[in-house]
């Protein structure tokens, strides 16, 4: 592995970690698509600041972009507050307009500069290490690595400093307001962090894949835990894993690194979606199957107790014709009968099912529900 490869992977991992941190709160606060809106509309800020400063690496670009991110949130919320347009529609109205303005400005006035819209949308991680950051002639590594590390530290600092506030404002905004810290301010602070992160990440991974890195690892972690702190660490872990495996996938296919990172985010999500211990598909399927069998067993005991000691008992509890009375299919009926016998709910005598005391108790308990 060459230094170049190492630097790209390091950058990818730092970007993923920086995105995963605010992503947790986006997922929990049900504002995941705000990341999509912000990452698009920051283009306008970048373009405007570029026209003013004439320098693509000016720190003003980051500030202006973050300001447009906030502007997006403010505009969407004020449209929503008129009560004339719902929240989802107001987001969907604001960001395409701002993004379109950005695209129009670029194609009209910035034709020849290195600021084309494909690059903004798609990013290119592979070129990032060639833009070096030097201080007094000493090479300090790729510029974007320095920027993203700064943003990672900022995000980490933000979450550590305001952990309690974020937690309460996320899970119980009413309580947060009663305790005296405004959920509104917390929301705007979080949106500023998202904007800054999106700006930092966009030239590495592009604005659409920022969404993948923010939302997918956090949603994956959400399937696995109920604890906020665990969810944060898990989502950073998933993000970094997706970044590094994505790099190697891209290497192997000779395809876009950013795209591969997003695909790996999706693959990890898919795996966890299948096998998560509480929320996974397999667990859910097994739980449903178990519940179905248990319910059928209970129904069987009820059926038997209903006809117990009555003239039709012989007819109703005959193993061979049971499926007719239960309205089940034949193989399911014999499977349930076998299980009920194993669980000592019934015993078989001369091809008749007879309830045990345990079975009778189950029937009574179920009917009492």
């Amino acid at each position: 592995m060459s230094t170049l490869q190492f630097e790209i992977q390091l950058l990818a991992a730092v970007v993923a970690a920086a995105c995963a941190l605010p992503g947790v709160f986006l997922v929990l606060r049900k504002t995941a698509l705000m990341s999509d809106a912000i990452s698009h509309s920051i283009l306008l800020g970048i373009v405007l600041a570029f026209f003013v400063t004439g320098d693509l690496s000016s720190p003003w670009l980051v500030l202006a972009a973050a300001a447009t991110g906030i502007l997006t949130v403010v505009l969407a919320e004020s449209i929503n507050r008129t009560g004339l347009v719902r929240e989802d529609a107001s987001i969907g109205l604001v960001f395409p307009a701002l993004f379109s303005l950005g695209v129009i400005l670029i194609s009209r006035y910035a034709g020849d500069v290195h600021l084309d819209t494909d690059a903004v949308l798609l990013g290119e991680l592979a070129f990032a290490p060639f833009d070096r950051y030097e201080l007094f002639g000493v090479d300090l590594g790729p510029r974007s690595l320095a920027v993203m590390s700064g943003i990672l530290i900022l995000n980490l600092g933000f979450i550590i400093a305001f952990y309690k506030e974020l937690k309460i404002a996320t899970f119980d905004p009413g309580l947060a307001a009663a305790l005296g810290f405004s959920p509104l301010i917390i929301n705007y602070a979080l949106m500023s962090v998202v904007s800054v992160t999106a700006v930092g990440a966009f030239d590495a991974v592009g604005s659409i894949l920022v969404v993948a890195l923010m939302v997918t690892p956090a949603a994956t972690a959400y399937l696995l835990t109920d604890r906020l702190s665990v969810m944060i660490w898990l989502s950073v872990g998933f993000g970094v894993t997706a970044a590094i495996s994505g790099y190697w996938m891209a290497h192997w296919l000779d395809a876009s690194i950013a795209g591969s990172m997003a695909v790996m985010c999706g693959v990890i999500f898919g795996l966890v979606f299948l096998i998560a211990p509480q929320q996974g598909l397999i667990t859910i399927a097994r739980r449903r199957l178990r519940q179905r069998t248990e319910f059928a067993e209970a129904m069987l005991t009820i059926h038997l107790s209903h006809h117990e000691g009555r003239p039709e008992e012989k007819e109703e509890s005959a193993l061979a014709t049971l499926y007719v009375h239960m309205h089940w299919d034949e193989s399911f009926t014999s499977r349930i009968a076998r299980r009920a016998e194993e669980n000592q709910l019934v015993v078989t005598e001369e091809n008749q099912l007879i309830l045990t005391d345990k079975g009778r108790r189950l029937a009574e308990a179920t009917m009492a529900l």
Binding site: G92, L93, I104, R108, L121, L209, Y222, S256
Partner: protein, 379 residues
């Protein structure tokens, strides 16, 4: 203005682009209404992004770049993406917004991987696939417009055919269930139609901006009417106007991309609707608010004067404006003089001397009417 009109008729490219954009605006306007009413505005964004891998895969599998093939690929991928969103929301505790963000970005990432993969293989014809990102309206041919019109007409026709069912689905799905309508099936059908509308637009407006074409015409139309039929009609008209307007404006200047210009046009239509639409519009409700406030203030001063007069044998006893101002101290006592002058015009109060005002006979009647209308006798 005239030259635009003549260009629109005689310039082949412009005419084709404008017609294509108009068709797109109409179809997405019609289907966008249901998305907006069902709070699925951002689904358009997710579907359009999710369509990218389908476009590239369709190209890889067939080697063809004909719009019909690519649109089919886009539709399949967009549809799969929608199903994924639905299944994530149904089976886990992940909410709708996160599910959309996941599908949108992961599918788009996959599309990007496929796109860069194809670009490095020696197939010569792959160039041009990435125009789907922003769309390339100028490249639309007449036969594309015909394809778009046929597919669009099919979509709109289905909406008309299922009009009542879609209406119930949008406003009261529970009621629909109780009627025995196959609500989940209708949902899938309506969403599939939305997918069709979106993939039609990908070539013109592109993946990124397509969501605006779904949301903005419908959200604008919603401001002007409370009736679904009218809303859908207006939405189609707004979509078409934005399409033609965007095409004409972008052709009139150098380096003005069509897709973003169309989006700016429809956004302006939305702003105008938000401000000006009768009844709902912001300017109207502001005027109404002012009128109501003035009326309330008039009533308040009149009642104040009445309740003061009740303390005197002579109901027409004059009171000083200073007292009335104190009684309206919640608003700093401002505007009392103006209200009195207004009341005098109705003949309800009389200006007795410099600072003193009294109720007239008709003023007493009016004050009692006001008091009765708020269900409370003045003390």
């Amino acid at each position: 203005m005239f030259s635009f009109a003549s260009d629109l008729i005689f310039d082949y490219t412009l005419r084709t682009v404008a017609m294509g954009s108009a068709v797109l605006g109409m179809v997405s306007g019609v289907l966008g209404c249901f998305a907006v009413l069902r709070r699925q505005s951002l689904l358009g964004d997710a579907i359009s992004h999710a369509a990218l891998p389908g476009i590239v895969l369709a190209f890889i599998l067939t080697g063809s770049k004909s719009p019909m093939v690519l649109i089919l690929g886009a539709a399949v991928a967009g549809w799969l993406g929608t199903l994924k969103i639905i299944s994530i929301v149904r089976m886990t505790r992940i909410k709708y917004d996160s599910a959309m963000a996941i599908v949108l970005s992961v599918f788009f990432g996959l599309g990007l991987v496929l796109l860069t993969y194809v670009q490095k293989t020696p197939q010569a014809a792959q160039a041009g696939l990435d125009t789907f990102l922003f769309g390339q309206a100028a490249a639309i041919l007449e036969r594309d417009v015909i394809v778009m019109s046929i597919v669009g007409a099919f979509g709109v026709g289905l909406v008309l055919l299922f009009w009542n069912r879609f209406k119930i689905l949008s406003f009261d799905p529970e009621f629909g269930k109780s009627l025995g309508l196959p609500i989940p099936l209708l949902e899938v059908l309506l969403t599939s139609l939305l997918v069709i509308a979106i993939v039609l637009g990908l070539q013109t407006v592109g993946v990124v901006l397509m969501s605006a074409m779904v949301v903005a015409p419908a959200a604008s139309a919603r401001q002007w009417t409370d009736r679904l039929g009218m809303m859908i009609f207006l939405s189609a008209v707004f979509g078409a106007i934005a399409g033609i307007g965007g095409a004409v404006i972008s052709s009139s200047a150098q380096r003005l991309p069509t897709g973003p210009t169309i989006v700016i046009c429809i956004s302006l239509i939305f702003v105008v609707s938000l401000l000006l639409a009768p009844n709902r519009g912001l300017i109207w409700s502001w005027l109404r608010f002012r009128r109501d406030r003035k009326q309330l203030h008039l009533d308040a001063v009149l009642c104040d004067l009445y309740s003061l007069a009740m303390h005197h044998d002579n109901r027409h006893h004059a009171h000083s404006i200073a007292v009335l101002r104190t009684m309206r101290s919640d608003r700093g006592g401002g505007g009392v003089l103006k209200s009195l002058e207004e009341l005098e015009k109705f003949g309800w109060v009389t200006h007795i001397s410099a600072d003193n005002w009294a109720l007239s006979a008709s003023g007493i009647d009016q004050a009692m009417k006001v008091a009765a209308s708020i269900g409370k006798q003045p003390e």
